[in-house]
Symmetry: C2
Subunit: 147 residues, 2 copies
């Protein structure tokens, strides 16, 4: 049977979160966490809004997901995030033992892969899902910033 | 003039935080953040209490310190923490551009140095201050756990 809840579907939801960040004047990065085709947590970058350098989309989503499930570990969950996670967020993902990470655009400057950081050995990673849409949001943000 | 507020003084404060974690049945790790010889933020590991794998002592202290100062960056602050930070906490430290990190015991399994992770190039790091006291707290925790 065809499942409409594919990676593209959930990445669009993460991009919607990134749009919310953009509206607040934040670097537009969004994330959702999915368990059994259900979104159990959402987050968007709120570093400026909360004045908290740790308030990345993924961090807020991890905290919300573990709170929702009442569990420290997320082996049956997938994180969808619009940008390759940084060292901090990859480290947080490690602690959650999340089953899968799907990201859109690569982050050549701060991405965990480019810094040779680790996720949990049990975590599968897929990159490049809707990367263009994510980059387009980023470009919109930085164009506005330069004005 | 002799300054009584030295690294040992502030590490003792971080160890007091670690004691609070131990009393709650948490892995005993504590942190304080200091600015101009004044403690502006404290934190102790609350992963179990908050059911949040991101609730490490350092993360809670970073959020509290930036909130207190109303600033995203902590270049004039020092983090005292009773265990070598992990990848996540080193990543968070990177984003804060904290001026200095002082830790007590090394963490050979999860420590950011042992994982070849980065802190900000402007951050100075000192390890080994009151390492034995930190290890002793850890041993007490794991002994209790095995009973």
């Amino acid at each position: 049977m065809i499942n409409p809840f594919d990676d593209t579907y959930f990445m669009k939801k993460a991009l919607q979160e990134a749009e919310l960040a953009l509206q607040k004047g934040e670097v537009p990065i969004g994330a959702v966490i999915v368990c059994n085709d259900q979104i159990i947590a959402k987050g968007h970058n709120q570093v400026e809004t909360l004045n908290d350098p740790t308030a990345h989309a993924e961090m807020l989503a991890f905290t919300a997901a573990t709170n929702y499930l009442g569990a420290k570990y997320l082996p049956d969950c997938t994180l969808y995030v619009t940008l390759e996670p940084c060292q901090m967020c990859a480290g947080a993902a490690f602690w959650t033992q999340i089953g899968r990470i799907v990201y859109a655009a690569e982050d050549e400057k701060r991405g965990y892969k480019h810094w040779n950081c680790k996720v949990h050995p049990k975590t599968k990673v897929t990159g490049g899902i809707m990367a263009e849409q994510s980059k387009e949001l980023m470009n919109r943000f930085f164009k506005k910033l330069r004005k």
